[in-house]
């Protein structure tokens, strides 16, 4: 709630410093992944300060960026009869999730060089490709395949028209996180554009955590793997014995 209060203060008192300033906050800065997790709705609230601001003259783009990890892309190659994965192209620091929201299609708001410069839109995600084998001259095909796969999984997505104006300077962006949303630290950035020029930006952070049983199982399995393995065997023995006992009667 403190953040909301801060935004309202900002909206009313900090105006005039620049032509227009954007500020943003999340309704919840933690998303909890439980056993019944099947995706979540992220609600972003923001406001624009500034004397010149009217909703018609400005565009808003939001970017939700998930924790960066390494991925490997391999091309399936025919070896005699079977198709087998070839040498890997490693992609460093690729976001595990990348969702944009915008008032209009990003290419209508910003020119391509600026899209690339700010990394706006799925096609402009900065990816660091490392090639291991003799496939270095066709890394773009691997990059495209990687983006296709993540778009197919719903982890990378450009959404248009999900910015709702509430009252004058207030806006709200709804972002649906998919069920496969990776765990970790997220960054949410909102950009304010006027005639294709970035005038202001603000960011907020988001945590996606496993909680409850989900988290306990995951942590036990990774922090104390041997105990977890023994526990799995013990549970299996008990469950198997109990099931047998029930059906003998």
């Amino acid at each position: 709630m403190m953040r909301f209060a801060a935004i309202f203060c900002f909206a009313f008192f900090a105006s005039g410093a620049r032509a227009a300033d954007v500020a943003v906050a999340l309704t919840e800065d933690v998303v909890e992944v439980t056993t019944s997790f099947s995706g979540a709705r992220l609600v972003l609230f923001g406001t624009v300060a500034g004397d010149e601001y009217t909703a018609e003259n400005y565009d808003i783009i939001s970017v939700v960026r998930g924790p960066s990890t390494q991925f490997e892309v391999r091309r399936l190659e025919r070896n005699n009869l079977i198709w087998m994965p070839g040498d890997a192209v490693t992609i460093n620091d690729a976001p595990g999730l990348y969702l944009t929201g915008a008032t209009r299609a990003i290419e209508d708001i910003v020119l391509l060089p600026d899209q690339t410069a700010h990394g706006l839109g799925v096609d402009n995600i900065e990816l660091d490709l490392l090639s291991a084998g003799d496939n270095s001259n066709e890394t773009s095909a691997y990059k495209a395949a990687f983006l296709d796969e993540f778009e197919f999984l719903g982890l990378y997505k450009n959404i248009v028209g999900n910015v709702e104006y509430a009252k004058g300077r207030l806006f709200r962006i709804n972002i649906d996180l998919p069920a496969q949303t990776p765990i970790g630290q997220y960054e949410v950035v909102v950009y304010l554009f006027q005639d294709g020029i970035l005038v202001s930006q603000d960011s907020a952070s988001l945590n996606v955590n496993k909680v409850g049983l989900e988290r306990r199982i995951y942590e036990l399995a990774h922090d104390r793997p041997i105990s977890y393995g023994v526990l799995c065997v013990a549970l299996s023995l008990i469950a198997g014995w109990a099931a047998g006992a029930v059906f003998r009667k």
């Binding site: 439980t34 087998m84 549970l235 299996s236 198997g240």
Partner: protein
């Protein structure tokens, strides 16, 4: 409804998973087999990462073998000495299997490796079983009695070092052949997520020459230990045992197994074996199909292990 699996890190429909457990349980109850060699491919077809499918299936086999082992213990149809040597071999085999598994996971070829292993084993075993049961079906119609096998120790195995008496099995052989047999099955258990009964039972009958009476109990005794070892090793080395998935499969599996056992008693042994052989071959063909047909997407993307 969806359940998010903590280790596989994907959401699944619990009813479908329970149904899968039930279907495989039904077949394993009907045919008296463990069912790991059907469950693991089915999990992979459903979209569970192959490494998690194998690790989880090992723990599920532990659960589904308990009641069988207890029943055989009560009937005193377990050769503990023989079982002990099989477990020693199996434990070492499981460790070797985990190293092989880790190696192929590290170079990103584990899916391919598991698929090929399954195609070879299911193809080989399925073809043998079909051949054997079709021959038996013809024989049963022409009323020719199968020659009775004599239970006696195989000479070359008695000639190996450390030969000893296995009282329950009425054998005098060296422990080296059972240790080697256990070792091979242990490797398979770790790599393929199977109990290995489908190899162990014929090997005990036809190679070790053990009496039929103690074969199933001793095989189950070895399976429960080796899959327990494989479960702990997978959990420790790969973090790929999903207990939630295992429990879901189990809950379907026990019900299916009871139903299957009832249906199984109404069918003749040869018919059952022919049917099982066809199912095994069908899974094999499906896996082979995926390996041979041009892939729908020419690239594979995943996080390195």
């Amino acid at each position: 409804m969806q359940i998010y699996l903590p280790i596989a890190e994907i959401p699944v429909d619990p009813f479908i998973v329970i149904l899968m457990g039930g279907a495989v349980g039904f077949l394993s109850g009907m045919f008296g087999v463990g069912g790991g060699f059907l469950m693991t491919p089915l999990l992979i077809f459903y979209g569970i990462p192959p490494a998690v499918a194998v690790g989880t299936e090992a723990s599920q086999i532990v659960a589904s073998s308990v009641s069988g082992v207890l029943a055989h213990l009560k009937r005193k149809t377990v050769d503990f000495l023989m079982g002990g040597f099989l477990v020693i071999g199996g434990g070492i085999g499981a460790v070797v299997g985990i190293f092989i598994f880790r190696y192929f996971r590290a170079i990103g070829q584990i899916e391919l490796f598991i698929s090929i292993a399954y195609v070879l084993f299911l193809g080989g075993i399925g073809a043998l079983m079909l051949f054997e049961s079709v021959r038996a079906l013809f024989r049963s119609t022409s009323n020719v009695k199968r020659p009775k096998r004599k239970h006696r120790s195989v000479e070359w195995m008695a000639a190996l070092p450390f030969a000893m008496k296995f009282r329950t099995s009425q054998l005098y052989i060296s422990p080296i052949p059972p240790i080697i047999l256990g070792f091979i099955v242990g490797i398979l258990a770790a790599i393929m997520g199977v109990g290995g009964g489908f190899i162990m039972v014929p090997a005990m009958l036809y190679i070790l020459n053990m009496p039929t009476r103690v074969v199933v109990g001793t095989s189950l005794f070895q399976i429960i230990f080796v899959t327990a070892i494989a479960t702990v090793l997978h959990a420790a080395a790969n973090q790929t045992v999903d207990i939630i998935l295992a429990l879901l499969l189990l809950s379907g599996g026990v019900i299916g197994a009871q139903a299957g056992a009832r249906v199984g008693t109404r069918l003749k042994g040869e018919q059952l074996r022919a049917l099982l052989a066809l199912i095994v071959l069908a899974v094999c063909v499906r896996l082979l199909f995926d390996l041979v047909m041009p892939p729908s997407s020419p690239f594979v993307v995943k996080a390195p292990a």
